[in-house]
């Protein structure tokens, strides 16, 4: 095995190194984060005032759709896979991922898939305009021709996810250093193991549902057509059977990251390690039996409404265990508030708010009021932005010195945090109010009565966007000219990744370490 990276572009094209692939995943996801962010800012610019100002309604719909798709499949998921690539082998003492070539294949599918998806913006009839949930028949009978490209893009990014997940499972199950039993693994590894299982279980179902769409559109089948005996609601069932585990795919690794960071800066071991593991498994199990809470208003039988309502509320129990454990970890800790810790504490607080609005939405009779309003938009942005995005950001600040060997600028990191924190709350908190007052989602124009809250949301969105530019600048400045970081980086952090030099050598743990 060669000791250093190859020279030139082939290093990235042909690599089998988990660190190279992790970096590519992270940069790709960062690029997608900005692309999806631009789409979001188009939406917020249009909604700054009532009336149609900037874009046509059809283009507005393309923006909401592409924003959701790019953020979910292009930004959040690849970012977590990038972190998994970088950290899992180093945290379990493995020389690399279990199947290094397949690892690079999983990555390189993504630029092709997203190039194809983005190219739909320039096609006749425009990009997909039916929302990221692509409900039939909007996405079948009434879809623009570009839907075919969307379907195949989803197919290949699904293949990428499945191969990535298989690789992660094989790595964790097969490559742990001697002495690292399952219940000694870092929580980031545990949460990713469970996430990978969810991915393998539901990405094929997503492939199934887009295949049904393809057949209905091009080959005359009747899956979602009542005239032939099918049912549009079937689409929603199959989609959300994928979709609900999918939202946990976007949050479980976040739990793992925060569970690594809080103990470091509270200077206490994580409270309740094993309960964290069991809670994660419980959440993953429950994610398979709650999907129809997204569909309370489509006309489910009353028994279905009740089952999915209670099952959904049950998720609050293991999630509450986690929140309790993070708070208990900080309790009486010798706390300091470096940037990763700030993002992690904000995660705990704001994710809890998102969880509570989720509980409100879980109440089936109340959901008839909230369904398809900005209250739902507020809810899932509170779990995804301070949940997924903040945890990824926290993870990047936490591990960046290990990756590149240089310390980031702490002042700028804190400024990034406060701008992002204020920006996101200004953006999304008012949406609770406009939503409860009845403002529907995915609408380019709205009643005058919602004008104030929308203007505030739009201002917050641009503030949040500006904060991310600062994040990009800070990362580049750190890599190019940051101060040298120590091998330990932080004060006595736990984990094998801190036992190797900073920057981590191209190959780590070629012979497995002994883990006690």
């Amino acid at each position: 095995m060669a000791h250093g990276p190859a020279k030139g572009i082939t290093r990235w094209l042909y690599t089998t190194n988990h660190k190279d692939i992790g970096s590519m995943y992270l940069w790709f996801s960062f690029a997608m984060f900005f692309l999806g962010g631009i789409f979001a800012l188009v939406i917020r610019a249009e909604l700054f005032q009532p009336g149609l100002q900037i874009v046509e309604p059809n283009f507005f719909n393309q923006m909401t759709t592409m924003h959701g798709l790019v953020m979910v499949f292009g930004a959040v998921m690849p970012a977590f896979v990038g972190l998994a690539n970088w950290m899992i082998p180093m945290q379990i003492g493995a020389p690399d991922m279990a199947l290094p070539r397949m690892n690079n294949w999983s990555f390189w599918i993504l630029p092709f898939a997203f190039a194809m998806l983005s190219s739909t913006l320039f096609m006749e009839g425009g990009a997909p305009n039916f929302g990221w949930t692509f409900y039939a028949p909007l996405s079948t009978t009434y879809a623009p021709p570009s839907v075919t490209f969307f379907i195949f893009a989803v197919h290949i990014m699904g293949a990428s996810s499945i191969m990535g997940a298989i690789n992660i499972i094989a790595t964790i199950m097969n490559m742990r250093a001697p002495g690292m039993t399952y219940m000694k693994m870092p929580l980031f590894v545990w949460t990713w193991l469970i996430t990978a299982f969810l991915l393998i279980a539901v990405m094929p179902v997503l492939a199934g549902v887009v295949t049904m769409m393809l057949m209905d559109i091009h080959f005359g089948t009747s899956f979602f057509d009542a005239a032939g005996g099918g049912d549009p609601v079937l689409f929603q069932h199959v989609f959300w059977f994928f979709g609900h585990p999918e939202v946990y795919i976007m949050i479980l690794p976040a739990f793992g990251i925060v569970s690594a960071i809080i103990p470091t800066f509270a200077r206490k071991p994580l409270f309740g390690y094993s309960s964290m593991v069991y809670a994660t498994a419980a959440i993953a199990f429950l994610s398979f039996v709650v999907w129809a809470h997204h569909m309370f208003t489509v006309g489910l039988p009353i028994a279905g409404e009740l089952f999915f309502m209670w099952a959904t509320m049950l998720i609050a129990v293991p999630t509450g265990v986690k929140i309790f454990n993070w708070v208990a970890t900080m309790f009486k800790g010798a706390m300091t508030f470096e940037t990763p810790m700030l993002f992690s504490i904000a995660f705990v607080i704001l994710f809890t708010i998102g969880g509570f609005s989720g509980l409100m939405l879980a109440i089936a009779p109340a959901d008839f009021q909230y369904h398809d309003t900005y209250f739902v938009v507020a809810h899932f942005h509170y779990v995804l932005v301070p949940g997924a995005i903040f945890s990824i950001t926290a993870g990047v600040y936490y591990w960046l010195p290990k990756w590149c060997g240089n310390m980031y600028n702490e002042t700028m990191g804190k400024m990034h945090f406060w701008l992002a924190f204020i920006g996101l709350n200004v953006t999304f908190f008012p949406m609770h109010f406009s939503g409860l007052a009845g403002m529907p989602r995915r609408i380019p124009d709205y009643n005058m009565m919602f004008a104030d809250w929308n203007m505030i949301s739009s201002v917050g969105a641009f503030l949040f966007g500006a904060a991310q530019v600062m994040f990009l600048y800070n990362i580049i400045a750190t890599i190019v000219s940051g101060k040298k970081a120590t091998d330990e980086v932080w004060e006595n952090p736990e984990g094998l990744e801190w036992t190797v030099p900073s920057p981590a050598p191209y190959h780590t743990f070629e012979t497995p370490p002994e883990y006690k």
Binding site: W108, A159, I166, P178, A201
Partner: protein
């Protein structure tokens, strides 16, 4: 967790070319379906690229194994990879089986007026009755001869025990179940290095796979030409052809995999009693498509 160095391959051109081939295939397919004349060209160019990459990829992995580069730990990674890949396939079929069960037990009765929202049936689809196999679609119930989505003229259901021996799905079941047994015998043969028995049993399995596919093609031709049963015959035709079609596609792939293993054995003498995972993985895949068929046989045919 055994010690020793885990083999991490050098740089490889395979992944990026595989990504490119895969992309070109689906990009071509999408263009083809949307009626662009260059679509088929892109599709076939992509498919060829992808196939060439896979050929190379497998031959490299095989030669690495023969060169002794694969530690027991690395072999476990391949084993796990195959196991979880099969699990993903299980979930893919679960989506289509789930759709079938939902349609049969909930959606069709609701369309005919059962359940809380039943009153709407009288307004939307008056005269529609629930039945399975669904021969008269809601469209036909309302629009009669002018219906756009017509049901099949005949279906593939259980002919009763009297007609069993003349019923093609029964023979297909016999063939596939037998092939699962023969591939198992091939496995036990190679485990004790009985090369000849391995070749015979594996050859018989491949032959049975081909016979199954021929009979399945025969059944489809029969359905299209004589039963008026097509992919467009309402939800019955949809679920029938999608479930059996995806199964048939998987049998095709499984047969190809086993055929390659057979050719490797007879032409190159590959596989030993303690080193035969390429074959074993293909045989797992074969058992998996067999189990799916048993599910299909009951859900689509016997109780269909």
């Amino acid at each position: 967790m055994s010690g020793g160095t885990y083999y991490v391959p050098e740089q490889s051109k395979l992944p990026i070319w595989a990504s490119f081939g895969l992309f070109l295939t689906v990009f071509g397919a999408a263009n083809w379906m949307n009626g662009n004349s260059y679509g088929p060209w892109l599709f076939f160019a992509g498919g060829l690229t992808f196939a060439a990459v896979l050929w190379n990829w497998f031959s490299i992995v095989i030669s690495e194994n023969m060169a002794g580069m694969n530690s027991p730990q690395l072999k476990r990674s391949y084993v796990m990879g195959m196991q979880w890949f099969i699990f993903s396939e299980v979930m893919f079929f679960a989506a289509f089986f789930g759709a079938l069960f939902y349609i049969r037990t909930l959606a069709v009765p609701w369309l005919a007026g059962e359940g809380d929202g039943g009153a709407s049936s009288e307004l939307l689809w008056p005269g529609f009755n629930a039945e399975w196999p669904l021969m008269t679609t809601p469209d036909m119930a309302v629009n009669g001869e002018d219906a756009l989505v017509k049901g099949p003229e005949q279906n593939m259901s259980w002919p009763g025990f009297a007609g069993l021996l003349g019923w093609l799905p029964f023979w297909n079941t016999v063939i596939l179940l037998t092939s699962s047994v023969t591939v198992h015998f091939a496995h036990t043969a190679i485990k004790s290095d009985k090369r000849k028995q391995f070749n015979i049993m594996l050859g018989v399995t491949v032959l049975l796979g081909f016979i199954f596919l021929i009979l399945q093609a025969e059944e489809y031709i029969h359905a299209y030409t004589e039963l008026g049963l097509t992919l467009e015959s309402g939800i019955y035709g949809t679920t029938f052809f999608m479930l059996t079609g995806f199964h048939g596609a998987h049998v095709t792939m499984g047969t190809m995999m086993l055929l390659v293993m057979w050719l490797r054995s007879i032409t190159k003498g590959h596989f030993k009693s303690d080193d035969n995972f390429g074959f074993e993985a293909a045989s797992w895949y074969w058992h998996f498509v067999d189990v799916v068929w048993v599910g299909l046989f009951f859900a689509v045919y016997v109780f269909g």
